[in-house]
């Protein structure tokens, strides 16, 4: 039998982790990525990666890490895979260290760790404030090594469009488009791993990179894959609002002692330095004395919302609060937070060593994603998923510095599992459906190119982002969610009247974007309608009209499937694996 052919889509941490494991096991991989893999969104992760190495004499354990993760996720995550991830974490850090990641060190030459949100332990390993960049580079270098040995073939600048699925419902390959020549091609494979990241673009502006559209996940969803817990969207408490995006200001700023506050008096016009301590409202420290500024992100985000919109204490009446590092000495800041402070100064023009930063919550992460089993396989045989594009490690809210870990751990599992699956696969009949799928994609391209109307895709996208951000982020009301879904249906209607101002067939970036936009619209209905149906509050999903968690009805995984009907996706619910830790009330104003 011929050697199995594995396709990995996406070259961030999850994709590269999968590639390395497959290459190491003797397999060969075709790696597809829209951007050169070294430019993937994982580079944006700043603060660090969690592992209970217990190098600070605190008695930290992998069980504590597991408990913090489950509790932080409001008990929605299946516990078996989370337990496995937390137990594997110390060895993952060791491996990254061996690969040359320049982690910060203690004077004795050991790994240094800092605190992050939702835990009382120093559990986060870090490389300055550019940990994601450093981790991605380490894996990118290992993949380059395998590439030079002929085990990996990269298709950078190719965009995944769809899976090729045979008449038995088994995946047999993919279709993809060359973003320069706009050529459509099908590629056969025995197994496929999607590692295509987040969905930030469906919220217009977010902390995500431009490529994080969720288009690949949505395409697979429309081909029959379940999408799970789509309504769980993390809004990061501290981002820097911008014209083109919301830039992340890492949780590590608070991990190193940063304090969030507003003047106690609304509309206080005094220069910040002249406001005495007694007239500053450190609301997180007052409301959550045990965790203080390091409450989980959903809690911090809602607190900032309350301070700004209910108490009217936003800075100069604007939706902003201070994140203050000015009490920390310059050497410590530069050593541990260098990269992010530089970014703030570059983009805002104010030196955060000297003046508090002005920040506000911004859409950051999707806890939900493609439904996968404990082997990382979707319900379509042969299609696996790893990283942010799947749902299984973070429940209703992700703890900071767990995402890098879940990407690598998920990729390390998906790779070998895909290889094993592929080894046992019976050959496809004929072309496995490749020609038919390619024809379907060509038809989509042709109809877009010939579409004659008045709608501009970028303007439709802005309208989408405005409605999802307004109705489906921090506070959710059923009336607003219904309005949002009607708006999305209206946008889907108007999508049919798009007129591309550029119909050329060479490096047509707006054409590629317009294809992604359709998938964004379909996926945003999963988010909005999933939120509408979940009448409770859990983790990042908060409904003021249903402020309590309702385990009896909703301690369940949401599973959406595509119908193609105007009514939208079909929803069903699955029991959550809670065999290790019994669900208990989640509160951060006192010790757990």
């Amino acid at each position: 039998m011929a050697a199995p052919r594995i396709i990995v889509i996406g070259g961030g941490l999850a994709g590269l982790s999968a590639v390395i494991k497959i290459a190491e096991a003797g397999g060969t991989v075709d790696l597809f990525s829209i951007v050169p893999v070294k430019r993937s969104h994982s580079v944006c992760a700043q603060g660090g990666i969690n592992a209970a190495k217990n190098l600070k004499g605190e008695g930290d354990t992998t069980w504590q890490h597991f408990d913090d993760t489950i509790y932080g996720g409001d008990f929605l995550a299946n516990q078996t895979p989370v337990k496995g991830m937390c137990e594997a974490a110390p060895a993952v850090i060791d491996l990254l260290d061996r690969m040359g990641v320049p982690f910060n060190r203690t004077p004795e030459g050991l790994l240094d760790f800092r605190r992050f949100g939702g835990t009382l332990y120093h559990r986060t390993a870090f490389a300055g404030a550019t940990t994601g960049q450093q981790l991605l580079y380490a894996l990118d270098e290992q993949v380059r090594r395998h590439e030079s040995e002929g085990k990996v073939r990269k298709y950078e600048g190719w965009e995944f469009l769809s899976a090729v699925i045979d008449s038995q419902g088994v995946a047999r390959g993919i279709t993809a488009m060359d973003l320069r020549s706009m050529e459509l091609r099908s590629f056969p494979a025995d197994a496929i791993i999607l590692a295509t990241g987040g969905v930030g673009a469906i919220f217009g502006k977010s902390t995500n990179s431009v490529v994080c559209t969720g288009s690949a996940q949505s395409a697979i969803f429309q081909q029959g894959a379940y999408y799970a817990n789509g309504e769980f969207i993390q809004v990061h408490p501290t981002s820097i609002p911008g014209e083109d995006k919301l830039r992340l200001m890492s949780e590590s700023a608070r991990g190193e002692g940063g304090r969030v506050w507003v003047p106690r008096a609304a509309g206080d016009k005094r220069p910040v330095k002249q406001i005495p301590q007694s007239e500053r409202f450190y609301f997180l420290e007052e409301w959550y004395p045990k965790y203080g500024n390091l409450v989980p992100r959903d809690v911090a985000t809602r607190a900032i919302h309350k301070v700004v919109y209910e108490l009217g204490l936003g800075l100069e009446g604007q939706p902003m609060v201070y994140l203050d590092l000015t009490h920390i000495d310059r050497a410590t800041l530069d050593h541990k937070l260098g990269g992010i402070l530089e970014i703030y100064e570059k983009f805002v023009g104010v030196d955060p060593h000297l003046e508090p930063m002005k920040i506000f919550p911004g859409m950051h992460y999707t806890m939900g994603g493609l439904w996968v089993d404990f082997n990382q396989m979707t319900n379509i045989p042969g299609i696996f998923a790893a990283g942010e594009c799947e749902y299984q490690y973070h429940g209703a809210n992700r703890l900071g510095a767990n995402s890098l870990l879940s990407c690598i751990y998920g990729g390390f599992h998906a790779g070998p599992n895909a290889l094993n699956y592929a080894k046992g696969l019976q050959p496809a009949e004929g072309d496995g459906g490749a020609a038919a799928e390619l024809a379907r994609q060509a038809e989509i391209n042709a109809s877009l190119l010939h579409s004659e109307g008045t709608e501009n895709p970028f303007r439709l996208w802005r309208e989408l982002g405005k409605t999802t951000t307004e109705h489906a982020t921090v506070l959710r009301y059923n009336k607003g969610l219904k309005q949002a879904d009607e708006k999305i249906q209206d946008l889907l209607d108007r999508y049919k009247k798009i007129n591309l101002s550029d119909k050329s067939q060479w490096a047509n970036t707006s054409f590629a974007f317009t294809r992604q936009l359709y998938n964004m619209l379909q996926l945003s209905r999963v988010v909005v309608l999933g939120a509408l149906l979940r009448d409770e509050s859990r983790g990042a999903h908060f409904k003021p009209d249903f402020p309590e968690r309702n385990d009896e009805k909703f301690l369940k995984t949401t599973k959406a499937s595509f119908t193609g009907d105007v009514a939208g996706p079909r929803f069903e619910y699955e029991e959550v694996d809670t065999q290790y830790i019994k669900p208990r009330p989640r509160r951060y104003d006192a010790a757990k």
């Binding site: 050169p36 320049p102 060190r105 014209e243």
Partner: protein, 249 residues
């Protein structure tokens, strides 16, 4: 204030074979605008300053936080990242052109894959035995970490190559970014196992000897990487390696 505008002149080229041309745009000014948000605005309303319909600008971008290295271009004549080019700090009209030393794809998009090929040639990786659990990595003291971390911040934007007078087809020079990566991996306790091979890869034509010490690279680097230090350190190491190899015959 309501009428304040931003003027841009953008160099367009529909394909490598197509003619070059310049288009002017006039956009409503908004606080915090950067060159990327200006181009997003053009995509949503692709009309030139003269009122002609045109096409959205083709450009590479991804993170918009100056960490992915995608959006390098020439802005007012200077190689830099478009995301961190704030409109209010730029003289207008803002002239935007593609990098000039790399094959053009379209408009502001160029093909910079040469850098990734160079990284292969110098084995820019740590050769781990495997990804199975082999326990902790080597001890690294904070002083070493602090020396290596800046080198590891290279975002592969290629600004250092664009501004280097020696980076051209005649010399085949690898450029500063690759040399800095050689220093990074040669410094690593495990990575240095390939030290000699890396130095030999930089010893021939297109290697470190092509550097003309113009020092443009270190000026252009958006990440303030100590590129000229890396070049002088590795230059010395390459010389020593050459002598050793000569003595060994």
């Amino acid at each position: 204030m309501a009428d304040k505008t931003v003027q841009l002149e953008i160099k367009r080229q529909a394909s490598p074979e197509a003619p070059e041309m310049w288009e002017k745009f006039e956009l409503a000014w908004r606080p915090g605008m950067n060159v990327i948000s200006a181009m997003m605005e053009i995509a949503a309303n692709p009309v030139t300053a003269e009122g002609h319909q045109t096409t959205p600008i083709a450009y590479d971008s991804n993170c918009l936080e100056e960490i992915c290295g995608s959006c390098a271009m020439r802005i007012n004549g200077r190689a830099r990242m478009a995301c961190s080019s704030l409109v209010e700090n730029l003289e207008q009209p803002i002239r935007v052109e593609p990098l000039s030393k790399f094959p053009l794809v379209r408009d502001l998009q160029v093909d910079r894959s040469v850098l990734f090929e160079n990284l292969k040639a110098v084995k820019a990786w740590v050769p781990v035995d495997g990804t199975y659990d082999l326990g902790s990595g080597p001890r690294v003291f904070p002083q070493q970490q602090e020396a290596n971390y800046p080198l590891s911040n290279c975002i592969s934007c290629t600004c250092c190559m664009e501004v280097c007078p020696q980076f051209n087809p005649a010399t085949g020079f690898v450029g500063a970014a690759t040399i800095a990566q050689v220093k990074l991996f040669n410094n690593h306790p495990t990575g240095k196992v390939f030290k000699e091979e890396r130095l030999r890869a930089l010893a021939g034509d297109g290697g470190i000897q092509e550097c003309g010490y113009a020092q443009n690279c270190v000026e252009a680097c958006p990440k303030q990487i100590p590129l000229t230090n890396a070049i002088s350190d590795i230059g010395r190491d390459v010389m020593v390696q050459k002598v050793k190899d000569w003595l060994r015959g």
